[in-house]
């Protein structure tokens, strides 16, 4: 069936045309109040679009600021540190007799200049006793270890190197011994005012200076 036939059939049907016309005339007309409601909606939709852009811009700017702050505050790869606030004159328990002498420190002690001649650092007002150490195997602790050794910078340097290898020389679980060595090292070196030792569970530590006592 071609277009002409369709036109003939459709346009020729006056009954259907009249029926549709009568049907449409019976339908309700546009309510008078409706266009007013639509106008309110159209105008508020335009304002909404403008406000929407303000919101979008504000959210985007906030996100950028948050990302920037986050990147600036991105933590280093260092493990979580635990701060230990120490005072300049902390008293440690006296050292007890130990079995295994530490050859390295003994050697240093032999060749070290007279310790008594060296004056302690200004912060060092008192001798610091060393905590008693438990007996364990493979422990490298000199039996002649005394507080005086920390007055020698070379001993301190040696102790720092040993401390850096504390995985091998001090067992990881023996936190007490590790802390003791750290403290002794700390007190053996000149410290700034309000110094804080920050250590981690691996024995790494560093001394930082703070204006106030803080908890990290």
């Amino acid at each position: 069936m071609n277009e002409k036939d369709i036109d003939r059939i459709l346009y020729g049907d006056t009954h259907l045309g009249e029926a549709i016309r009568q049907h449409e005339q019976k339908q309700p007309s546009l309510p008078a109040h409706l266009n007013g409601k639509v106008m309110v909606q159209l105008l508020s939709a335009g304002a909404h679009r403008r406000h929407l852009w303000f919101w979008v811009g504000g959210v985007a700017a906030s996100l950028l600021i948050i990302i920037g702050i986050g990147m600036a505050m991105w933590p280093t790869s260092k493990p979580k540190l635990q701060a230990k606030i120490t005072e300049a004159t902390v008293k440690l328990p006296s050292v007890q007799q130990v079995e295994q002498p530490q050859t390295v420190i003994q050697a240093e002690e032999q060749h070290a200049p007279s310790l008594e001649e060296k004056k302690p650092a200004p912060m060092m007002a008192k001798a610091i006793p060393v905590k008693p150490i438990k007996k364990t195997q493979n422990r490298e602790i000199p039996d002649t270890l005394g507080n005086e050794i920390w007055q020698n910078p070379e001993n301190v340097e040696r102790a720092l190197r040993i401390l850096a290898d504390c995985e091998a020389t001090i067992l990881h679980e023996e936190q007490e011994m590790r802390n003791m060595v750290i403290e002794a090292t700390f007190h053996g070196t000149p410290q700034p005012a309000n110094a804080v030792i920050v250590t981690n569970e691996m024995g790494d530590y560093e001394v930082i200076e703070t204006p106030n006592a803080i908890d990290i």
Partner: protein, 196 residues
């Protein structure tokens, strides 16, 4: 007839000026001019409401859809291309689809299967008086699915071309022609089955 009375040139000038007015209106609508919005509602509101009402028969729902049509039209006015269709046809297209979408969202529409009957030239019953035929056809219109009723009304009442109806319904003119014949045949089948 209008052309014969006024002459072809006058009609062309009038069409040109109307097109210019419509272009100005569209430009103002793109700038969200409130006066342009009011003019849009005044000039095209009735036709849009009729289109919506053919599909959404509940008055409150039709009013809601009517508002949505113009909100959507204003949002999409930047995409309107006057070369493809007139503003009225474009608005009718939005109204048609918004109304159908409304029915679908409310799960009120029913999918109608197109009947596979080859005889499209089903002549009306000549023995029936004209008035009775018209009355029954009018009743039969209410039994049509909304989209079929809308298509046949656009053709007979709005005097839209097959091309315009195809644009509104997102179809092609030849399909619309076939659909119109089928709808017409369905109507006459309905009135034949009506009790006297």
């Amino acid at each position: 007839m209008f052309e014969h009375c006024l002459g072809e040139k006058t009609c062309m000038n009038m069409n040109k000026s109307m097109k210019q007015e419509t272009d100005i209106l569209i430009d103002q609508l793109r700038q969200r001019n409130p006066a342009a919005c009011q003019k849009l509602l005044a000039d095209y509101g009735t036709a849009v409401f009729q289109m919506v009402r053919r599909i959404v028969t509940v008055q409150e729902d039709a009013e809601e859809v009517y508002q949505d049509v113009f909100v959507k039209a204003l949002q999409a006015i930047g995409n309107f291309d006057s070369r493809r269709a007139t503003l009225a046809t474009w608005l009718n297209r939005i109204a048609y689809h918004e109304a159908l979408n409304f029915l679908r969202s409310r799960k009120l529409s029913v999918v109608y299967m197109e009947e596979q009957n080859d005889d499209l030239d089903d002549a009306p019953d000549d023995e029936m008086p004209d008035e009775l035929t018209i009355q029954r056809l009018e009743m039969a219109l209410t039994e049509l699915p909304p989209h079929e009723r809308t298509i046949i009304t656009m053709f007979y009442y709005d005097n839209m071309s097959l091309a315009d109806i195809a644009y509104v319904t997102d179809s092609i003119p030849s399909t619309i022609g076939s659909q119109l014949c089928r709808i017409r045949k369905k109507l006459y089948r309905i009135i034949k089955n009506m009790k006297p």
